[in-house]
């Protein structure tokens, strides 16, 4: 054994000195703490910059604005934790609204109107059907979910244009609009529904076998399969659930805008996915939670709302969202690399 003067070994010795500080830094869980810190930071920032920001009205407003994207984000969170993706969410959403609207009013190709509850059921079934088809293509035909759901996106848009003739549909019954526009005890129904969906999904992910196995599949599909988890079944179910939740968002959208619109989903394909990632859920699966998604959704909502209050236009809002997203993903990736 001889003593080395190799610079590599020397620098190793030096690192021991500075490592106590580094160790403290390493202990921080950036992926969880980062988005929450960001959220708190911009809330403080906007409350200083704008007097209207922290008003009850504005807070309710923010929640109402994020509800629809939030429910879609919750749906796609299941998918992303399972290490798959769904690009058809913003197509399922308007189609379900159009189907439900048509059934309730007898519009489009529907010859007669049916009760509202049947219409709602039809809307949800539409979402379930297309989600199921994506899931089947991914699990059984082994088509990567990126391609399966991208194809599904075009298929749904084609169906939607054919069914609606690209025309909007008015005269949605009030009882149906209530979900998107009504209030209970002064709180918008849409917000209550968002919170209920969040609480239920958070519970499913944390407390049920179903939720646990989604993490296992997302973390290591092969190990999950070798441990006796029916991976195919899970893929089909998870994409079906995502479809149902997007259909739910579509029903709320009917009340929000007061009509069924083919264009209701334009520009909404990626914001829900961005919100999930922003919250710290890993795009590669296995890591994440509904709580993180909630933080991500709020972060995006607060940012847009605050900039709006300050008079910043759509240009500035998009720019800011992009910058925040890239910072969030960068810290997320660095946090993952450290482990």
């Amino acid at each position: 054994m001889q003593f080395s003067t190799d610079p590599k070994t020397l620098s190793n010795d030096l690192q021991v000195e500075e490592s106590s500080f580094r160790r403290a830094l390493k202990k921080i869980d950036y992926t969880t703490a980062g988005p929450i810190t960001g959220l708190v930071f911009i809330i403080i920032l906007f409350s200083i910059l704008s007097p209207h920001f922290l008003s009850v009205n504005n807070i309710v407003n923010i929640l109402r604005q994020v509800s629809i994207i939030g429910i879609m984000a919750i749906g796609v969170t299941y998918v992303i934790i399972m290490a798959e993706i769904d690009l058809s969410i913003a197509s399922i959403m308007p189609l379900s609204g159009i189907i439900a609207g048509a059934v309730a009013t007898g519009g489009y190709l529907m010859p007669f109107a049916l009760p509202v509850w049947v219409a709602i059921l039809c809307g949800l079934l539409t979402g379930a059907l297309f989600g199921f088809m994506s899931g089947f293509a991914t699990a059984k035909l082994k088509i990567p979910s990126f391609m399966a759901t991208l194809s599904m996106m075009f298929i749904i848009e084609g169906v939607m244009l054919w069914f609606s003739g690209a025309q909007p549909l008015y005269g949605i019954p009030d009882s149906m609009q209530w979900f998107g526009a009504g209030k209970v005890f002064g709180i918008p129904v849409i917000v209550v529904i968002f919170i209920l969906v969040f609480v239920a999904s958070d519970f499913v992910l944390r407390k049920t076998v179903f939720g646990r196995n989604i993490y296992a599949i997302g973390g290591n599909e092969e190990a999950a399969r070798m441990s006796g988890i029916n991976v195919d079944k899970y893929k089909i179910w998870v994409l079906t659930i995502c479809g149902i939740l997007c259909a739910f968002a579509g029903l709320l959208m009917l009340g929000r805008i007061g009509s069924a619109q083919v264009t209701a989903g334009v520009g909404l394909q990626l914001p829900p996915i961005a919100a999930v990632i922003l919250g710290g859920t890993s795009l590669f699966g296995g890591i994440g939670s509904m709580r993180r998604t909630l933080v991500g959704v709020l972060l995006m909502g607060v940012l847009v709302n605050g900039l709006n209050l300050l008079g910043v236009g759509a240009d500035g809002q998009k720019l800011a969202t992009g910058i925040v997203l890239i910072i969030a993903v960068a810290t997320n990736v660095m946090g993952t690399l450290k482990k």
């Binding site: 049920t208 993490y215 973390g219 290591n220 190990a223 070798m226 441990s227 988890i229 482990k339």
Partner: protein, 514 residues
Amino acid sequence: MKQSSPNEYLLYTENLGKQFNGITVLENINLTIKKGEIHAILGANGAGKSTLIKIIDGIHTDYIGDIYVKNQKVKPANTEEARLLGIGMVHQELSLVSELNVAENIYLGRLPRTTWGMVHYKKLHQDSAKILQELNMSVKTKEIVSNLSIADRQMIEIAKMLSMNTDIILLDEPTSALTENEVKRLFYTMENLKKQGKGIIFITHKLDEIYATSDRVTILRDGNQINTINLDKNDPDLETKLISLMTGTEQGEIGEIYPAKKNRIGPPIMEVSNFSSKGKFENIHLQIRRGEILGISGLKGAGRTELARAIYGADPKDTGILELNGEIVEIRQPIDAIHHGIGMVTEDRKKEGFVGLLGVKENISLTTIKDVLVNGFLSRKLEREKTQTYVSKLNIRMASEDARVKNLSGGNQQKVVIAKWLCTDCKVLILDEPTRGIDVKAKSEIYKIMSDLAEQGLAILFISSELPELIAMSDRVLVMSRGRIVSELSGTQITKENIMKSTFQESAVQKEVG
């Protein structure tokens, strides 16, 4: 121990060694390669042969010791640098780009250019054709590689190495995919290269190939250089000598790390008959009893893992019947195996054994999550309690039950994987290389666990490439070779010599086991 002047060596190493995660896999290797020499390297699985030449080829760069090429101390940082030093390698795994054609593959990364910087296709195909001719191959240079047979691809791999025109040539089991005729052509080419003064390092598992080609042979065992000898082809005891060098004869250390064997064997529990899967294994019959540890020995590619995976339902089989307690059961996927009480600890624990991103407790309950439910929902408390039981039973060392399994040491990871099966009521447990890549202390703990489980009546199918553990732990050993069971050894027949003989001698008497 160099006696002659180093000048005559194309390449030599001084005390070369390598560790993986703190485990020494290669130690104090002093290899010398002369000009115009074919130097064979012989050793069992895991003896360090591939590691050794991967160091020389610049693939493993964090080694200990020194490498000298033409008396210059070198430290190749990658294969590109190794090639510039005059070292070329033919890998065990094929590394061709299957969508490109033969010529493009031979000159991959070194395509000849025209003065305009474009690919000089004419020269490319001419040069390639010349090399193929040297190898006496009839393949067209414009043929797409994916259309070629495995044997032809292996020959293209060799052509690629030849095109580099290096002085030192590393061949890692080049013959495993070749037919007899092609092997002859390869040996002829090797002989030519030798005449040109090149030095060839040749790794093979087949003794007859060594006799046919090599001048000297270096024997490795457990990462140590046991000896380097001149091959005297007239020595009648050569084969016995080589096998005994490969296996080693000292057996003193065994008592320390292995638990004592106990008589605990009960009635038969599982019987496999007529298992076949094309290209993997053929007509396998085996029976295992309660409380028995049945060892399966063989080289890589002999079909051991493939057989185990077929029993467990991880891979499909062509034919075969599996009986448990005398009843025929159908196993199509792992979940069926688990329902019937068969568990499997896979060879590659990182890929198939655990979910690295999840914690210890989540991993332990992967197979038996229903046991930690209260009113249908997961109970963290119950899960934590269950985890604690196995953690103390198996002595798993970790920061907390929530520690991600990917951050644990290899030994602790393996214990987590085993714990996953202990909590199912499995009756047959398949262990595929359960001690690979873990330290001696953890190994002895795993042997203890195996012995305890067998005592409780579990039947264990134990696949291992490490003969000492296989011999010490198994009540019976089946030796597999080329997809068949070639011999069954029990009691005092279980010796290194017998296992090695069955493994390496192609002429071993085929024996039906059932």
